[in-house]
């Protein structure tokens, strides 16, 4: 697995330590983290639509507004850059909608795990031949 998110050199590792805690916000976590995916709908999506769906998933995971997630750093393919751990989470979550493991990571090209576009392409390949119960 490969990361492509800019390193954290020079910055705090990820949040303020207790000794330097920032002011506590009054209102937090306004969104739920529930992700409900329809496998039939996912299969019918274009690449662009699937990319959008993945961004929605990430907004849910991070409980951030969609626009905030979408505004992140881009990869060379023009879609949002992902760290490989998050990419695996997306693939795993989509796999649950299809009630199966979509891929074996040992057989996945690391390049596919570096962006939303790469993950969308991988998901489309992995789900193309799955027969979804109840689908037209």
């Amino acid at each position: 697995m490969t990361e492509n998110v800019a390193g954290s050199a020079g910055a705090s590792l990820f949040f303020a330590s207790p000794a330097t805690a920032q002011p506590v916000p009054d209102v937090i976590d306004p969104q739920t983290s529930t992700i409900d995916l329809d496998p039939g709908a996912l299969q019918a999506m274009s690449r662009e639509e699937l990319c959008h769906e993945i961004l929605e998933m990430l907004a849910c995971l991070r409980r951030q507004p969609f626009q905030e997630v979408a505004a992140g750093a881009l990869y060379t393919d023009g879609t949002l850059a992902l760290d490989s751990m998050t990419a695996v989470w997306v693939i795993s979550t989509v796999g649950k909608a299809f009630k199966r493991r979509l891929v074996r990571l040992s057989e996945v090209d690391a390049e596919s795990l570096r962006s939303v576009g790469g993950v969308a392409r991988l998901i489309q390949r992995a789900t193309a031949s799955i027969v979804v119960a109840g689908a037209a």
Binding site: M1, P18, P25, S92, S106
Partner: protein, 293 residues
Amino acid sequence: MSDFVAPACNIGEAWLRTLELVHASGGRRTNVLTTIVEPLAPEDPAIRAVVDGVLVPGKRKGTTVHAVETVANTIFPHDLYRDTSLTWSPDLNPEQAAALDSAATDLYDAYSGMLDLLCSADGNKSGTYFGRMVSWPGKKARGVNQLADRVKYLRDQRRAGRQRYNLSDIAIGGEADPAEPERADMGDIGLQVYAPTDRRQRGFPCLVHIDLTLLDGKLSMLAVYRHQYLITKAYGNLLGLARLLEFLAQQTGFEVGELAVLATLADTQEEFASGSRGVAALIDSARSQAAPE
């Protein structure tokens, strides 16, 4: 022979000092202790850049190379953890406490839910480090969540005001699989990442145990590695451990203490670095650019 690396103020300097010491001693040393006094101090960007320059992902000289962040994610997947900007305390209001708890629960659930897929990666057949922490023995969801247990135990200590009065040191070490989990004394249970069934002499798991100690209101960590690969893994390991310590401190309200790593075998990986001269060149490059401590 055992070696003690002079404590450093940040991850990069600690990594570089360890590499320098082991290189000066022939490239391999037993029982090397590395200490970072301020694990959350900003990284030295020059040292980090040198490491990033070496760790371009791919396979070279028989070694699969992962980026620093990838290695760090094996110990703490920080991209799956939301920063609530909250630090736990007994006085936190219910809404804030719930938000902090849900950030941790979402992390545990997200990671546990992808364990099956993660274990399909090369090298993950026996599980993953973080998987072993949140769902022991680490290959399936719904295992023993050692991290959640540690958070609960440490919050209880905080509620009891132990850090204020410093009644005693709290050392946490032992087995993740107590014979009677419901009766286990949390004070004797550490973060276990090594299973009795682990047979491999090299590779996973190199990290075998994490010990937590509470003293004077500060939470410190010692990680034991049986084989520390100083070029391809050590920097990412330190970063991941620092993030894990930060998570535990945030979730329990204690201050971050020091981070120490004991490598039972520390290896400068001369084969990977094109020999002793390659290691020396890497050290020279990093040292010449590092900020003076």
